[in-house]
C-alpha cells in the first residue's frame, strides 16, 4: 500500500515538475537575452523613441531568408545611437540609405544566422562554444566580400570596399587562374574556387591552424603559407604580406553562391571574351606559373623547371603556330596542361590574343638559318647527350627541375632546324647555353644530338619530326 511513500513521491515530483515548467516559461517570457537588450534600449532612449517590445524580423522571401537581428540591434536605424554600445549602435556610414533593410535584411551582407534570437547562435562565430551554422557572421573587413554579390569588384573597390577591389586585382595579378578555375576558366592543378566563400567550416582542415579556428583566419594563413596549413599542399608561396593575404582572402569569400535576384544587382565582374586583352589573359591565366615569362624558373613544389615563355629568342625561333599549339594542346608529360576551351575554358579569341601578346616580345631578327645537310649518327649523338644534356633535361630527356622535357608532342612536331638552332645558339636569359660557343660543338655534333633526340621522341611519342 505504502500510501505515505506514494503521496510524498507524488507531491515532490509534481512540485519539481511545476518548478521546472514555471522556470522555463519564466525564462522564455522574461529572461531571454533579447528581452534584456530591449529593456536596456528603453532605458537608453529614456522612452523618447517609440519602440514596441517583441521579436523583430525582416522577412525576405526574395532572398530566401528571415533576419531577426534587429530584435537585439535595436538602435540600428536610430541616428542618436551612433555612439551607443553594441548591440544598440546605429549602422555606420550611409550604407542603409542605399540598401533598405526591409529589402536587403542583414545577413545577405554580414552573414550569420538570421533566424537565431540569441547572440551566440546568431553570430555563430564559433569562439568558445561550438554553434552549428555554416555561415558565421563576417568580421568587419570581411563584410566587403558580400558587395560582389551585386557589384563588380572594381566598382565596389572604389565605393567603400577597398579590400575587395585590391583582392580582385591581386587575384588577377598573381595569376590564380593558372591553377584554379573560376567560372569554368582556369587550370585544374588546384581545386576550382567557385563557391569558395560559402564552403562550410567542415571543408577546411583546422588541424594546423592555431586557434581560433575560423575560416577567415584559415584563408589568410593558408594564402601566406599553404604548406603550414595543409602539409603537402601543391600551392606555391607568393610572399604575400598580411594585408595582401587578407585582401585576397576577402576576394575568395566573395566567390559564393548567393541567389540574389537579377533586379537587385548593380554591376558584375565580367570577362571580355570577344575582344580580349592578351596581356590580361596572360596575367590572369599564365603568370601564376610562368611569372613575367622572361626568365625560366625552378619550381620546387612541382619539381619542374618552368620555361620562360616570353623569351625573345625562343619566340623568334618557334613562331606563333608553335605557341598556339603548345597552349591549346598543352605539353604532355609536363605540368603544362591543355588550355583549349574544352579543358580550361579559354576561348579561341582569348588564345589568339594570348599568342599575339606573347609573340609581340619576339626578337626582331630571325636566327641564322640551319643549313647542315650531311648524314647523322644517333650513336654519336647519344654519347654527346649523356655528356652535355642529361644533367638538365634528365635521362631520356624527360625533363626535371633544371630543364624542360624534350618528349613533348609539340616539340616533336617542330622541324629539326628548331632543335638544332636552339642547341647551336642557346637561349639567352635561361640556363640553356649556346653549345656552339660554350662547348664548341660542331654542326655535325649538333646534328647528331638532334638525331638522337628525334629517336627518343619517336620511341616515346611515336612522332617523327622533319
Amino acid at each position: 500500500m505504502r500510501t505515505r511513500f506514494y503521496s510524498i513521491l507524488l507531491l515532490a515530483a509534481s512540485l519539481v515538475t511545476l518548478a521546472f515548467v514555471a522556470s522555463s516559461i519564466l525564462e522564455d517570457s522574461y529572461f531571454r537575452e533579447w528581452r534584456r537588450h530591449q529593456r536596456n534600449y528603453a532605458k537608453l532612449t529614456e522612452g523618447k523613441t517609440p519602440f514596441e517590445p517583441g521579436l523583430k524580423q525582416y522577412y525576405l522571401p526574395h532572398l530566401n531568408r528571415i533576419d531577426r537581428c534587429t530584435t537585439c540591434h535595436t538602435g540600428l536605424l536610430n541616428p542618436e545611437m551612433g555612439s551607443a554600445a553594441q548591440p544598440h549602435t546605429a549602422h555606420p556610414g550611409n550604407y542603409l540609405s542605399f540598401h533598405q533593410p526591409q529589402e536587403f535584411g542583414c545577413t545577405v551582407c554580414h552573414a550569420g544566422q538570421g533566424l537565431a534570437t540569441n547572440s551566440a547562435e546568431a553570430h555563430a562565430t564559433n569562439s568558445g562554444k561550438h554553434v552549428f551554422w555554416d555561415e558565421p557572421v563576417y568580421s568587419k573587413e570581411f563584410t566587403q566580400a558580400s558587395c560582389r554579390a551585386c557589384h563588380s569588384s572594381a566598382w565596389a573597390g572604389e565605393h567603400g570596399a577597398p579590400l575587395l577591389g585590391k583582392g580582385a586585382k591581386l587575384f588577377v595579378d598573381l595569376g590564380c587562374n593558372s591553377c584554379h578555375k573560376t567560372g569554368g576558366v582556369g587550370g585544374s592543378r588546384g581545386p576550382a574556387l567557385d563557391g569558395q566563400g560559402s564552403q562550410p567550416r567542415a571543408h577546411f582542415p583546422m588541424a594546423h591552424l592555431d586557434p581560433p579556428h575560423t575560416v577567415e583566419r584559415w584563408q589568410v594563413e593558408h594564402l601566406q603559407d599553404p604548406q603550414k596549413i595543409v602539409p603537402g599542399s601543391a600551392m606555391r608561396q607568393y610572399g604575400l604580406s598580411g594585408d595582401d593575404a587578407k585582401a585576397l582572402a576577402i576576394y575568395l569569400f566573395s566567390l559564393r553562391d548567393l541567389p540574389v535576384p537579377e533586379q537587385m544587382t548593380h554591376s558584375r565582374d565580367t570577362l571580355d571574351r570577344d575582344k580580349p586583352d592578351g596581356k590580361h589573359v596572360y596575367q590572369r591565366n599564365c603568370s601564376g606559373c610562368h611569372g613575367e615569362g622572361l626568365k625560366d624558373r625552378e619550381d620546387k613544389i612541382m619539381g619542374w623547371r618552368i620555361p620562360a615563355v616570353r623569351n625573345p629568342e625562343m619566340l623568334a625561333a618557334a613562331g606563333q603556330d608553335f605557341l598556339r599549339k603548345s597552349i591549346e594542346q598543352g605539353r604532355e608529360g609536363t605540368p603544362m596542361e591543355s588550355w583549349s576551351s574544352e579543358s580550361s575554358g579559354l576561348s579561341k579569341a582569348e588564345i589568339q590574343a594570348l599568342v599575339a601578346y606573347l609573340y609581340s616580345n619576339a626578337a626582331k631578327e630571325k636566327p641564322k638559318p640551319w643549313t647542315f645537310s650531311g648524314t647523322t649518327d644517333p650513336e654519336e649523338g647519344k654519347a654527346l647527350f649523356e655528356d652535355s644534356c642529361k644533367q638538365c633535361h634528365g635521362a631520356e630527356g624527360r625533363g626535371g627541375p633544371k630543364g624542360p622535357s624534350l618528349l613533348v608532342r609539340t616539340l616533336a612536331e617542330m622541324p629539326d632546324s628548331f632543335l638544332a638552332i636552339t642547341v647551336r645558339d642557346g637561349r639567352p636569359g635561361t640556363s640553356m647555353n649556346s653549345f656552339k660557343e660554350e662547348a664548341e660543338f660542331t654542326d655535325q655534333e649538333i646534328a647528331d644530338v638532334v638525331a638522337f633526340v628525334r629517336e627518343l621522341q619517336e620511341k616515346v611519342l611515336s612522332v617523327r619530326g622533319n
Partner: protein, 531 residues
Amino acid sequence: MNAQEPPVRPDAVNDPGDAAGLRVSGLQAFLGNLKNLGVIAKNAFVRHGWPIRSERDRSRAVFQNFFLHIHSTRTHRWSLRPSFTLGLGVMAFGSFLVLSVTGIFLMIYYQAGIPEAYQTVKDLSFVSSSGKYVRNIHRWAAHFMVFAVFAHMTRVFYTSSYRAPREFNWLIGVGLLVLTLGLSFTGYLLPWDQLAFWAITIGSNIAASPREITDALGMTGVFDIGGLQRELLLGGSEVGQGALTRFYLLHVILLPAAAFALLGVHFWRIRKDGGLSRPPDAAFAGDPGVTGKPAFVPSKTYGLMALVRGKTPAVDRGPEGTVASLPHAFRAELAAFMLMLAIVCGLSFFWDAPLKELANPRVPENPAKAPWYFLGLQELVSYSAFAGGMLIPGIVVVGLALIPFLDREQGVSGTWLARGSEKKIFWGSLVFGLASVIGVVAFTVKFGWLRSWYPGIPQLVITVVNPGTLIMLLYTGFSLLILQRTGSTRKGAVALFTCFLSGFLVLTVVGVYFRGPNWNFYLSPAQWPIH
C-alpha cells in the same frame, strides 16, 4: 446502502412528473434545470455515484469509468511494492503519452519538406513560445522511453514474470520494444540537420547490408534484397525528400498507431492474465496489517465461467491481500508518472536537444553517431554491416521473443531472481559477460581483426567470423554450459539474458565514449584529432 437502491439523482425534483405532484410551469422547469446545470451535467458524465464514500463506491468508480476500467477494481498489495516494478512500465507508457502530446505540439510548426523541415525546427527553437522547451521534452522523453522500455523488460525477465499465462504478453512487449526503437529512429531524421542525415545514411546502409552476402554469392544482380530494403526505407537511392516523407509518415502515424494498438493489448492482457505477477504466498508476505483473512467471501459465483477459457485469477479466490485500486493503485501510478515527468522536465531545462548544421550530403559527419541506444549496434556494424546490423539484432529479437516458450519451468514469479542459486548464476554470468565482451573489444582495438592481417580475405569470411559473432558464440556457449550443468532452462535463460545485457552495456559505452573520427578508439574526445 443497499445494492438494489438506485443512485440518488439530485435533479429529480425538477422532473415534471415528480411524485410530489407539484405543478411547475415550463419556464420554471427550464430555469430550475439551468440552475442545476452543473449537477445534471456531472451526473451525465459520472456514471457511478458521487461522492465516493465506501469501498463499493471505489470499485464502481473504477469499473464504470472508460479510462479506469482497464484496471481491476482491486489491486493486490504486492503489486504496489515500489521495489517490485520500480514503476518502469508506467513510466514507459507515461513517456509515450508525453511524446504523443508534445509531438502534436511540434507538428503544429513542423513541415516535412526540404528545406522547410530544418527552418521550422529552427523557428521552434528561436521564436515559438516555449517551442524549444517542448522540443527538449520530446527529445528527452524519447530517450527516457527507450531506457524505461529496456529497464522494464529487464525487470520482467528477472522477476520471471513472463511465465505462463503471461508468455503472450512478453511477446507483445518485445513488439513494443521494436516499435519504440523504430519510433526513435524515424524521429531522428525529421530535423534534417547533419546529425539526422548521416545517422540515417548509416541506418539505410545497414538496411542494404544483405549485399555483403548476395555480393559474395554473386547474385546481387538477380536478387538484391539489401538494395530493395534500402529503397523501401528511403523511397529512393539516397536520403532525400522521399526518405523524409516516409520517415515522417512512419513517425507520426503508422508507428504510433501500432504502438497504441499493442499497448492496448498489452494492458488488457495484464488484466486478463491476473494482474502483475506475484508469488502465491504474496498475500501473507509481511505487509503489516494484512492478516490473510478474506475481507468478504464471494456470495455469488459468476455466470461467465462457460465463456472464459482457463482460470482467471480473480475467480475462486476472495480479495484477500488486496486494496481498492482507487486511490491506492492510481496514486502509485500517478506518482511514477510524475516522477518520470519531473526527470524529463528537469533534463529538458538544463540540456537542449541538439540541432546541427543543415544536412549537407557533401560534408560527412565524422564520426557520425546514431543515438546512444543504437551505438552498441553501430559498434557491431563497424565489424560487419550485415552481421552487426541485421543478423545479430535479428537473432537477439527472436531469442528474446522465444524466452517464455523455451523456458517452461513453473515456479515463483514476481520476485527478483527468486531462488538463491539464480542470484549466483546472475553474478557469474555478469562477470563472464562483461569480461568476454571487454576482452574481445580490447583485442580488436589492439590487434585488429582478420582484414588487418589478411587484406585480401573475402568479405563473406568476415561476415561470419567477426568480433560480434564471436561474442555471440561465447555467450551462447556459456549459457548452454549453464543449462547443461544446472539442468534448468530458467538458469540457462538467466545466463543468456545477463550476458546479453552486459554485452549491450559495454558495446554501448564503447560506442558512446570511446569511438572518434573514422570509428577509431580514443580514451577521451579530447584526444580526437582536430579537424
